[in-house]
């Protein structure tokens, strides 16, 4: 889906997922690593406040990624 949206609609996509090697294999261009498979955009074990902070940080990183010009598959680690 990530590739198809970029290819046919020309809209840049950021993929947030935990298993970066799979994103690399399927050909995502902008990648933000998630936390864990059951909870990619949060860390509920750390309590509600920390969970929300993790979520915000990941989303803000995704917004930054979507505005960044890239020339190759790029992982946004920070």
């Amino acid at each position: 889906m990530v590739r198809e949206i970029e290819a046919t609609a020309g809209i840049p996509v950021v993929q947030i997922a935990t298993i970066v090697p799979i994103m690399l294999t399927v050909g995502a261009n902008r990648m933000v690593p998630g936390v864990a498979i059951p909870h990619p955009v949060g860390d509920p074990a750390e309590g509600p406040e920390a969970d929300k902070a993790v979520r915000r940080e990941i989303l803000e990183r995704a917004f930054k990624a979507i505005q960044t010009k890239i020339t190759e598959q790029t992982i946004f680690k920070s």
Binding site: I19, I22, P38
Partner: protein
């Protein structure tokens, strides 16, 4: 380490006055047996049923399958950490009720359990249509947490497996098989010219009722370690997995691991079998990196020339599989992997979610998405409505006449990645 498996063949199972085996017939006193596994306050009710090969019977939803075993000589007991103390097992003698299986059954999670058909086309796809099955279903206390329900049913199944074997401990075995292998330096000295082979038994360790236990401990909390193959035959590894049925390793699979049996049969002939490395499949990328780095490094420190890697599950564990293969190959250790494929109902999609060029030797155990039609059975043990919640099933899967149209993955053990099944794939 020397272990003798004393196999007592079970040709039939019946209810009887006394729990015992004679002439290949296992008789079970139902009330006494229920009482033996009922010392858990989390159960409101416990039921036992029998399902025999060839019978028009469907068991659904299946949680685990366990072979009845108990130790008759040597330290500890089977299923260490559950039935016995968590002390090293694999030595002495173990009685096995061969041809009998305990099946635990219950709708613990809303999805991802499996079914067993004792006859018809579905029976071809799982080995448990050929065993005389004692099916344990329980009614748990209301409002029980799912993880407590899983744990209670897991332990009750192990206890039932031990109890039936224990009641037959004086039976004369039909076949005795000895599995013996010394320390790694001893075996290296005996077979200096043979290639040294290790075995990574990848196991789901993902929480949310997707867990595997080693000596009673949840392996998501441990880094990979080495065990002697005999330890697995005594129940060192136990399944706590409520996951897609086709390729989860039940406790029965762990006890009868065909990779171990094959490597053992060739030990000292054309290879030197170093040992087994239970390899957790984590939910975090960092956990996958840690686990696979430990596996590859352990293989290197053991002096392995090659590694056989079996996967459990599909999807994200495909990444663990690739990492294990890549990291070993990068260290100069040759690898072969055993995995099934999720290639779509037409079989045309990429089989694995991940890929790596170093993974060049691949044994496929089949396509989990293949559609199969399973006719209605006269007897249903368990909860037939569960089919709509099974992985590989849907609400419309259950037809009004009781037949099912489901993906192969709904059948337990159908694409087992230890190779404990009849299907595979060939290159076309």
């Amino acid at each position: 380490m020397r272990l003798e498996l004393r196999n007592v063949f079970v040709k039939d199972v019946q209810w009887g006055e006394k729990t015992e085996i004679s002439g290949g017939v296992l008789r079970i006193n139902r009330d006494e047996t229920i009482a033996a596994v009922s010392n858990d306050q989390r159960f409101v009710e416990i039921n036992l049923d029998l399902a025999k090969p060839g019978e028009s019977a469907r068991i659904i939803p299946v949680k685990d399958v366990i072979e009845p075993r108990c130790k008759v000589e040597g330290p500890g007991d089977v299923f260490p950490g559950f039935m016995g103390d968590p002390c090293t097992v694999g030595e002495g003698a173990t009685l096995v009720l061969k041809g009998c299986a305990i099946v635990t059954c219950g709708p613990i999670v809303a999805f991802q359990e499996g079914l067993i058909d004792m006859s018809g086309p579905g029976s071809r796809y799982n080995p448990f249509s050929e065993t005389n099955n004692v099916v344990l279903t329980v009614v748990p206390q209301e409002d029980i947490e799912k993880h407590a329900y899983e744990e209670a049913l897991r332990i009750a199944g192990l206890r039932l497996a031990w109890y039936l074997a224990d009641k037959c401990r004086d039976a004369e075995p039909n076949v005795k098989k000895v599995y013996e292998k010394g320390s790694i330096p001893e075996e290296n000295a005996k077979y200096p010219e043979l290639p040294k082979i290790a075995y990574f038994c990848m196991s789901i360790a993902q929480g949310l009722l997707h867990d595997t236990f080693l000596y009673g401990t949840d392996i998501k909390h441990v880094v990979p370690t080495v065990i002697h193959p005999n330890e697995k035959m005594d129940g060192a590894m136990v399944s706590g997995n409520c996951v897609s049925a086709c390729d989860k390793n039940t406790t029965y699979h762990h006890l009868n691991d065909p990779v171990i049996m094959e490597l053992y049969s060739r030990h000292g002939k054309d290879l030197n079998f170093l040992g087994v490395i239970p390899a957790p499949e984590d939910t975090r990328l960092s956990g996958k990196e840690r686990s696979t780095s430990f596996c590859a490094n352990l293989a290197k420190m053991l002096g392995a020339d090659g590694v056989v890697i079996s996967e459990e599950g599909y999807g994200n564990p495909d990444t663990d599989l690739c990492m294990n293969a890549k990291k070993c190959e990068d260290l100069g250790i040759r690898t072969v992997v055993i995995s099934d494929e999720a290639a779509g109902t037409d079989g045309k999609s990429q089989g694995l979610a991940d890929a790596t060029p170093e993974m060049t030797a691949f044994v496929s155990t089949g396509n989990v998405n293949e559609m199969v039609e399973l006719p209605a059975m006269k007897k249903v043990i368990g909860y037939p409505e569960a089919i709509s919640n099974l992985s590989g099933g849907a609400e419309e899967s259950l037809k009004p006449d009781g037949s099912l149209f489901v993906e192969l993955q709904a059948i337990i053990g159908s694409t087992n990645e230890l190779g404990f099944s009849r299907i595979g794939a060939r290159w076309i």
